[in-house]
């Protein structure tokens, strides 16, 4: 009846996961009950769960990402603590639990923290920057989000019911085959990642179509803000490589469930084929994450230097160059496979060459600041910290790209330090910078500067204190994923790294305090004009928070940096452009199909993990019915009356007029 599921799946004998998951269950239940008591559920259902508004979906993605970032960070703290105490000692985490933790840490950080945050930003910002009212397929967008949430749910359920994979964040066979990992851990991994991966693929399709087919009038390709270019490149990579992930995971699933021989070590299976396939997805994946991060930094450097982005076209070229070459470097993840000198050399060269594109970008950002009036607000601090951190991470990457050197530090803590250096320094710093930068556009008030800057300094210093020792022990020969160490000499390094984690924890606490303080002081931090940073692209032309239809009248773009141009004209002439003739607006109607699909996907995934076949069939039928019901609806759009559009836009214009009056009153243009 319940397949492999029984009471023994609950970890009664392991206090750490048991207590953690009990706390999580209590907190989640508490939140659900509190929301119900307050009577907020109808509002949440109507305005959030069934929404197809790209901004709200973006915000929900970011919320999911931040929650999972905390979960992944908790795993990281446990690993650092274990390695600092388990030197010639067993430590406090048994090996099978430790292995689950490092697997969960990687899986959660990449699939459920970094990806949702990156996609959240693309969702929120890109249509605003393109001057349009939504993405190409708003309902599909909602389906994508809820499928991602479904995957995240499954990963977290594994904490309480059953176990997670012990195979690392990429389940290498033959270890991940049924013969060597008979438990449900790898199955949790497979279905969670498969479900969220399908969501991501649909996001990629959605965004490529949006950028290429849905820009406002006048928004030619070479007038798009840099973030839209990087969104396009990142989405193109998603479309090209996520199908590889889907196929590869499906193959491993067939191996595990039906005894196929794709990756087994007997009967003609080929484990190295898994390494090739998974990294043909996995390497481009890091560029899926880092390209939008580059886009965020491009926006910030330009805005906070008060200058157009230096070398815009070379930036576009570098982005597309990285987009293509990212798919030609995968073999550097296993130079030790034995492909031979010629193959290794080719991939070593392609890996080094991709750094050229990144180098172009670094110089462009530096030259953007050169001669500008640089303002050191929090987003700019994260960006400067990024340049410093990322350049060093990039250089250790070029070192690893040399096959003979890679043979020595392959699979060592040096590698671990390297990719944290680029992903934390590149992606995570960008996400924090972006949160700071676009927060007022989402919620109508800025985040507290003082706490933001404090958090930045703790994060930057904490990062280096944590990972410098790991570089050193990696060079000294410490391999990754060790549950205990037997080299006494590494103890000081492990302890310094633990101190670094402590500093990072203080940074994280500062960020929480920043959020709380900002909410308390929101009236003081209110963004009245909708343009808090003196921005240059179209999202700053809207009020904060942006109305659900984004633009009362879709803009007509006449040059690069469209909003900067409009603003310059208005300040110079001291008048806004004449009030437009407001028309009713058609907006897509809400849809619960995303939520229903994800519900049935979660049920199906859980049933397949535990071999509850009848439930899996029911789940699939449910998902199919949800789609047919969606197909059957007759109303796809509703009309926003012209009066409402006019009311919202007049408020926006009043705020801008007040700004112009202040400029005049204070005589800023007089001299």
């Amino acid at each position: 009846m319940f397949g492999k599921l029984s009471w023994s799946a609950i970890p009664f004998d392991q206090p750490i996961p048991l207590i953690t998951s009990l706390i999580i269950v209590v907190v989640v239940l508490g939140v659900l009950i509190y929301t119900a008591v307050k009577g907020w559920w109808p509002y949440i259902w109507r305005e959030w769960i069934t929404t197809v508004d790209h901004k709200r979906i973006g915000i929900m993605y970011c919320l999911l990402g931040v929650l999972m970032l905390i979960r992944g960070f908790a795993d990281a703290i446990m690993m650092r603590t274990q390695q600092a105490v388990a030197i010639n000692a067993p430590g406090y985490l048994p090996a099978e639990h430790y292995n689950q933790i490092f697997s969960a840490h990687g899986t959660i950080m990449i699939f459920f923290a970094a990806m949702p945050l990156v996609i959240g930003f693309m969702n929120f910002v890109m249509p605003l920057q393109l001057g349009v009212r939504d993405v190409a397929f708003p309902t599909l967008n909602s389906v994508s989000f809820w499928l991602t949430a479904s995957g995240a749910l499954l990963v977290n359920v594994s904490l309480f019911i059953g176990e997670f994979a012990r195979t690392g964040w990429l389940p290498y066979p033959p270890l991940s085959e049924a013969a060597y990992s008979p438990g449900v851990g790898v199955d949790y991994y497979l279905w969670a990642v498969q479900i969220s991966g399908i969501g991501t693929m649909m996001t990629g399709i959605n965004f490529v179509t949006t950028v290429l087919k849905l820009r406002c009038t006048g928004m030619g390709y070479f007038r798009m803000p840099m973030f839209c270019w990087t969104t396009l490149a990142s989405s193109l990579i998603i479309v090209a490589v996520f199908p590889i992930l889907t196929a590869t995971l499906a193959m491993l699933t067939l191996d595990r469930y039906f005894g196929f021989h794709f990756f087994t070590s007997d009967a003609g299976g080929n484990p190295m084929m898994f390494m090739n396939l998974i990294w043909a997805w996995g390497h481009p994946e890091v560029y899926i994450l880092v390209l939008p991060a580059f886009g965020i930094f491009s926006e910030i450097f330009s805005t906070f230097s008060g200058k157009p982005l230096f070398g815009y076209r070379s930036m576009v070229a570098a982005t597309l160059f990285i987009c293509v070459v990212s798919m030609m470097t995968w073999l550097h993840h296993f130079f030790t496979m034995g492909a031979g000198a010629a193959v290794n050399t080719a991939f070593g060269i392609s890996t080094s060459i991709i750094a050229v594109g990144t180098g172009v970008k670094i110089y462009n950002w530096i030259f953007t600041m050169y001669g500008g009036r640089v303002r050191f607000d929090t987003p700019m601090l994260w960006s400067l910290g990024f340049i410093f951190t990322f350049v060093i991470g990039g250089m250790t990457g070029v070192l690893l790209a040399v096959p003979p050197a890679d043979f020595i530090v392959h699979n060592s803590m040096f590698l671990v330090a390297h990719f944290h250096n680029v992903i934390v320094g590149g992606v995570v710093f960008a996400l924090f910078a972006g949160l700071e930068y676009w927060f007022p556009k989402a919620f109508g008030f800025r985040l507290h500067e003082g706490w933001g800057k404090t958090a930045f300094w703790f994060a930057l210093i904490g990062f280096w204190v944590t990972f410098t020792p790991l570089y050193i022990v990696g060079m000294a020969g410490m391999t990754r994923r060790l549950q205990h160490l037997d080299v006494e000499g590494w103890r000081p390094y492990m302890q310094v790294a633990l101190i670094g984690v402590g500093i990072l924890i203080i940074g994280a606490i500062c960020q929480v305090i920043q959020l709380v303080v900002s909410i308390v002081q929101r009236e003081k931090l209110r963004d009245v004009t909708g343009d808090p940073w003196d921005g240059r692209s179209l999202e700053w032309a809207t009020p904060s928070p942006a109305p659900f239809f984004n633009f009362a009248v879709t803009p007509n773009v006449e040059g690069e940096e469209p909003y900067w141009g409009i603003k310059q004209k208005a300040i110079e002439s001291q008048v806004l452009s004449p009030e437009p003739d407001y028309q009713p607006i058609e907006m897509p109607v809400n849809s619960g199909v995303g939520f229903y699909t994800a519900f049935f996907a979660s049920v199906t995934g859980f049933a397949l993990i535990w071999h509850i076949w009848w439930l899996a069939v029911l789940g699939l039928i449910g998902a199919f019915i949800a789609f047919v019901v969606l197909a059957w609806r007759d109303v796809h759009e509703y009309e926003v009356p012209a009066e409402i559009v006019a009311k919202v836009d007049r408020a926006r214009r009043a705020a801008r007029e007040a700004f112009l009056e202040r400029v005049e009153r204070e005589g800023r243009l007089a001299s």
């Binding site: 179509t209 290429l212 199908p243 889907t246 021989h261 299976g269 396939l277 879709t554 047919v628």
Partner: protein, 229 residues
């Protein structure tokens, strides 16, 4: 709306209004409004839907290429079991190919009827398409059952894993297409040629033709080369 005959001149104007940016049907003097390229503003809904579906098909073909690649890698990993030559039954494959290619043709005819806004002929050709597709799936199922009875199963060797997975993935796609086709029949019958129904018919047509292209690859690489290799 349906079954009303208008002269071609009226039809031509209607179609140009519905899809001003239709590729290949305008003079090449530069970007056209409604096509969504250049700086002429957002594309029409029809272009957006079709374009998005093209992108999906590209991603689907990347997925198939993974199965092709694994088949190529595992082709000779027979582990002492049967090889491709013991599997290929060319007459059956020829029938399968004929069914699928014919179904693509009738699918195209159904869309011609859709363009003429003729419900009856659209439905007739969609049903024929479905029957041909069903014939293909049944032939493939029969093949798989026959092989299983001879003990030729995917669990036997890496090669058989690759073979069954590649051919089976295509078969699953065709089956999913049949399910989709069924819902399209119902939608056309109940709702007629509303805008979104026509868009879905476009997507279905693209999907069905793409499956044909994949089959041509399977036919050539697995069966034809297998029969001579």
């Amino acid at each position: 709306m349906s079954n009303v005959d208008f002269p071609a001149s009226v039809e031509a104007i209607r179609r140009r209004r519905e899809e001003p940016g239709q590729a290949g049907h305008h003079d090449h003097g530069g970007p056209v409004a409604g096509a969504g390229h250049g700086d002429t503003g957002p594309a029409t809904k029809r272009i957006i839907v079709g374009y998005g579906f093209w992108i999906f098909l590209l991603s689907d073909i990347v997925m198939f290429s993974c199965f092709f690649a694994t088949y190529a890698v595992l082709q000779h990993a027979t582990a002492g079991g049967p090889g491709i030559r013991q599997i290929v039954e060319l007459p059956r494959v020829e029938w399968e190919t004929a069914f699928l290619l014919m179904s693509s043709f009738t699918c195209g005819l159904s869309f011609a009827a859709t363009n003429a806004r003729n419900v009856l002929w659209t439905q007739i050709f969609l049903v024929i398409t479905g029957l041909l597709g069903l014939g293909f799936v049944l032939l493939e199922v029969q093949e798989f059952i026959g092989l299983t009875q001879q003990g030729i199963i995917p669990q036997r060797s890496g090669f058989l894993t690759g073979f069954f997975s590649l051919v089976g993935t295509h078969g699953l796609h065709v089956s999913a297409g049949l399910l989709w086709l069924g819902t399209m029949l119902a939608q056309v019958q109940v709702k007629g040629f509303r805008r979104e129904i026509v868009h879905r018919l476009i997507c279905f047509n693209l999907f069905w033709h793409a499956l044909d292209i994949v089959w041509v690859g399977i036919f050539t690489i697995v069966y034809l080369l297998g029969s001579i290799g």
